[in-house]
Each structure stands twice: as structure tokens, then as C-alpha cells.
Symmetry: C2
Subunit: 342 residues, 2 copies
């Protein structure tokens, strides 16, 4: 059943949308009593929203979901939020954004919908959440995870095939002739299943090419969460190695943007002296000099799938088992990985 809109009410009452809005919001000054009555009659006939709050309460449906993510200032999460808000709006839902700021406790709070009793379900892009804690437990609200799920965690997972995407971008660097390929983004204390998958894909590509993995090329990130500053710092430490890398694959584009800045500060050219690749497909990657090779998940597809899965859980009376939804990605080739060093 399509939602009745203010436009429908305006058309029925033969008045402007503005007038309907004034009546709805009880800003009566500019509306004649006769017109207001006509609007109220149209609202009644169409069963429209001045009573929506009350109807929502009675039915228990606020049509509000939460999107929990570390920080909107990170452009990847801003893109995720943009796509999720659009997909939710298309289904008649509004979104509260919970910025968890790299706090595991804030991520748990978000999963439990703690910020507002209106929240009917949660989509989370976790960073520090230890999913093993939640394995086998009932969740208080319908939950969809953007990223990879631990076995036993009773939510839906919406993700690209992180291992395969990571394998492809690493194999691309190898194909271009790079041999000592470092990886930036490994975090020691963080139980980030998605990152683990990406690191596995990197190792698999090395193995397929017969290149031995060098632990010194997979340093632990000292700063959390992913940021330009963390990428720059980690790149600088890689340049201090006795045997520095000839290419670097970053698990997030923002890390690669920071690495690019650090390489320039060190007087090194990309791609001639060092190859570089990222992950996320951010717009900035296409406008950097050189443009950045990156894996671009289909964020619109992911957002749509996450919203659809969550609403299905919200509206279903049955217990839906955990589902894994795999979305598309593209490997976007930039100039940052162009050097042929065969």
C-alpha cells in the first residue's frame, strides 16, 4: 500500500502543499478556517499523517531505524550513510545516525537501540565490536551488519567478497611487476573480521604468485580507527625498513591518501618508486595525483540490500535466521599502480 503524502492531501483539498503543512503543524495564522476544515477533511478521507505518531505508537511501528558507524567525517562512512538514508527513505523509513567513534561500548549500545525507544532495527558498520561476545545470543532488535560476520552471530551480513576483492587487487599489483608488497591496515587488538578477510586475500595472492610473505611488510597500525593520519604514519614506518616495499596495498582509501602524502614528503614518486592501491572506491581516489587504484564496493546495492533485509526482519512475525548477502565490487585502475617493473 503506497504511503499517502502531503501532496495527495493538497491535491484532494485543492490547496497548496504549504497550506496543508501549515494546518498539519498548527500554524493557523495564514489559513482561513474554511480552508483548514477542507484540509482536515482531506486528511481524514485519505487517512493521512497528522495522526501518524499516534498510529505508530498503537501499531508499534515508528518507521525509524538506526545506522551505527564510527564517524561521518570518514568519507567511506559518509558515502554509506548517504546511500542508506536514500534507500531507507525509498521504503518510508527515517534513519538516526549513531556515531560510535571507535568505541566498542558505543557499538554495543547502538545494537541495542539505546539512544531512542523509537528505533525498530539497526544497521551497523562495526569497527571494534567483538562479535564473538555476541555469538549465540539473542539480539534485542533486528540487526544487519555491513561487513563480515562471525559464525554464530545472529544477524544478517551484507558485504562484498572481501577476500576475493583483496586477492584481485594484490594480484593486479603483482601483475604490474611489484614484488615487495606491503599491507597497511592490520590492527592487532581489533577483532575486525572484514580486515582479517582482506589480509587473507592479500596472502592468498602472494602465495599464488609464489611470493613469500614478509612479516615486516604487514606492520600493525598504531592508530585506530582508519584515517589519513594513520596511513601517513604507517607509510613513514615502512620507509624506514632496511628493505622497504616497492608497493603498498591499503585496506581503506583514507589510509592510502595518507600514505600518498607521506610518500611525497619522503621525495618518492608514485607509481615509479612505489605502487599504491586502496579499498573503498571513494571519489577522492579519482581526483588524487596520481589517481588511486582501488576496490569499489557497490554501495547503493549494499545499502539497498541492508535496508531491505532489515525491514523484512522488522515486519516479519517469524524468526529469520542469519543471512549472508554478497554484493558486487569493481577493481578501479588508477595511475598509482601503473609502473611496469616486470
Amino acid at each position: 500500500m503506497p504511503t499517502v503524502t502531503l501532496r495527495d492531501v493538497a491535491a484532494r483539498a485543492g490547496v497548496s502543499i504549504k497550506t496543508v503543512s501549515n494546518v498539519v503543524h498548527n500554524v493557523g495564522g495564514k489559513v482561513s478556517p474554511q480552508t483548514a476544515d477542507r484540509v482536515r477533511q482531506a486528511i481524514e478521507e485519505l487517512g493521512y499523517r497528522p495522526n501518524l505518531s499516534a498510529r505508530r505508537l498503537r501499531s508499534g511501528h515508528s518507521r525509524v531505524i538506526a545506522l551505527a558507524l564510527p564517524d561521518l567525517r570518514n568519507p567511506y562512512f559518509a558515502d554509506v550513510a548517504a546511500a542508506t538514508i536514500t534507500a531507507a527513505r525509498d521504503r518510508g523509513y527515517n534513519v538516526f545516525i549513531e556515531q560510535t567513534g571507535g568505541s566498542a561500548e558505543a557499538e554495543l549500545d547502538a545494537i541495542e537501540g539505546m539512544s531512542d525507544p523509537m528505533i525498530e532495527g539497526v544497521i551497523i558498520a562495526p569497527l571494534l565490536l567483538d562479535q564473538r561476545q555476541l555469538a549465540g545470543r539473542d539480539l534485542p532488535l533486528p540487526l544487519v551488519l555491513l561487513g563480515q560476520r562471525e559464525p554464530g552471530f545472529a544477524c544478517d551480513q551484507v558485504s562484498v567478497d572481501n577476500m576475493e576483492a583483496s586477492r584481485q587487487v594484490t594480484a593486479h599489483l603483482i601483475g604490474r611487476g611489484y614484488r615487495r608488497i606491503a599491507i597497511i591496515g592490520r590492527q592487532d587488538d581489533v577483532p575486525d573480521v572484514t580486515a582479517v578477510q582482506r589480509i587473507d586475500g592479500y596472502r592468498r595472492a602472494l602465495k599464488e604468485a609464489g611470493i613469500e610473505a614478509d612479516a615486516s611488510l604487514a606492520p600493525v597500525l598504531r592508530q585506530t580507527p582508519y584515517s589519513r593520519a594513520a596511513g601517513a604514519q604507517c607509510m613513514a614506518s615502512l620507509l624506514e625498513l632496511l628493505q622497504p616495499p616497492d608497493a603498498v596495498y591499503c585496506l581503506a582509501d583514507v589510509l592510502a591518501f595518507g600514505a600518498l602524502s607521506a610518500l611525497h614528503a619522503a621525495g618518492l614518486r608514485v607509481p615509479e618508486d612505489m605502487g599504491l592501491a586502496g579499498f573503498d572506491g571513494l571519489e577522492e581516489a579519482r581526483y588524487r595525483v596520481p589517481t588511486l587504484t582501488t576496490v569499489a564496493p557497490d554501495l547503493e546495492q549494499m545499502a539497498q540490500a541492508a535496508v531491505d533485509a532489515l525491514i523484512e526482519r522488522i515486519q516479519s512475525d517469524e524468526n529469520i535466521g542469519p543471512r549472508d548477502i554478497t554484493c558486487d565490487f569493481d577493481l578501479i585502475l588508477g595511475h598509482s599502480s601503473e609502473a611496469s617493473r616486470g
Copy 2:
């Protein structure tokens, strides 16, 4: 009166927050009836939130505000949203984000709180809104404008001194020896008061230095809204002039990022062949090569002021006249304007 939190209830009942959450969300499986009773008693004693929705309805206070902005994928607006959500949360309010997508109609809808009857007030960063249409009219909801206000538009304005900031960055370029300074960001059909102020500041700095403004250096942006693509396109057109500029001031950092990319494509060096400056103080400006000179508004201060002003309007029984709140900015010097050409 401080808000009672789930933590308070958990402490009073002597149970975990998780248990309280399960009771609140009626996920009863894991909670014994005795424990659930204890939790409900604590909720009752503290007057806590399971009944919040009902209380809100009775009091007419949903504690939900809307933030309307063109597109979260634009990093300036993502930063604005991050700061606004944080400031609102500190005051116990949640935020719906309305992406108006560069549509004047969507901006009007947002001002009227059309997406949800729960919305108690609106903060808007407008793009295409013709404020003159709204001058002298009653607004259906409390409204705060991020940016400059038309006289007669009955909302609060929270903004930096755009004219002065723009004058300073232009004077800085002149001080570095640049003389033919172009401006990117002028839009012909768009009644953008903020942009008009910034262009005025640019012209004032030229006048103070005795430099005659050259209309060919202030081309009209063919693409709307501000984007990297628009900046690149406009920069390319400036390079086709018989007398191209020796520096470019962009009214938004994303325009400058696009311009930088176009300059590189044309084989020109920044700052040696062309000086460059932006506006917004985005993090990307500090990680570009060269780093970008830019005006950084104090977004935390702006968000706080906007949220405070809006909540005051929401909670006040009196008619508050329009207020102008001016926030701080910094001129951040990057390498993009470093060439001394005196």
C-alpha cells in the same frame, strides 16, 4: 533535569544494562520473571523511557530535529552532519538527515518538516533555496539556517563572516604576489546568499590592492552543486583564456580539489605556475600534494550554536525574532599558495 538513562535503571535494579535493554525491548527469553519485575520497578521509580514515546506524544516533544543538506557524499556536509549530530545528542536530541540533492523543492519540503511529523525543528544548509520567496512569511517549524540569511527571512542564521573570510584569503594570495586571481564557484541562477558574500569579499580585496576585477576570471559554474567535477571543468575553461589566471580562489574545497586535478592534467605546477586556495578547511586539504590553503570555519562551534538556537526556539513559548550568530574561522596556509611572485 538530567535525563534518566538505561544505566541508571540497571544500577537501581542491580542488573546489567543488557538485561534492562532486553526487558525494554520485550526480548524476554533470557530474563527471569523476577528480574524483569525488578527492572520494571526501577523503570517506574526513575520514571524512565519505556514510556518515552507515549510521554513525548502527550507533551508534543519527540526530541527529533532534521538537518537538511544537499548531499552527505560532499565531505563538507558530512563534517557538518557529524558535528550537528554530536551537538544534538549532547542535548538529548536525535537528528534525521534530509538529503535535498540540489533541489529547491526538496529544500522547501525540508523546511516544512514534511518527511516526518515527529520533526520539531529544522537546521538547513541550503543550496538552491530562494530565500526571497520566504521573506516575511511565517515558518511552520523552528528553523536555523547554516549560512547567510536574506533580510526578512524569519529564521536564525549561523555563519562565519563570509565576506571577511573571503577578503582575507584573497588578500593573502595578493600578498604572495599573485595578480590575476580567478574565482571558481559563481552560479548564475542560484540565489546563494553565502556565495554572493564570498564573491563580494574577493572583489573587496582586489579593490583594496588596486587590482581591477576582470569578469573573464569569474566564470559561471556550469555544474551544480559544488563538486570535484565542477571544479575540474571550470579550471579547464579558465586555462583556455587568452590571458589565463595566475591564481584561483575556489568557494569550496571540493572545487579546489577538482581544479588541482585539472591543473595536473594540463601539466601545470601548483604553486609555481598557479596559486590555489579553497574554502571549508576539509581534512583532505592537509593531505593533498601540495597542501591546500583554505578558510576553515569552526564547524563544532557552528553546530553547537545552531543546535542551541534551534532548541531554544523549540522550547520557547514566545516568538523569538531572527538572530544572526557569527562563528570563528581560521585561514589555514598550505603550500598551494606559496610561490612568491612579488
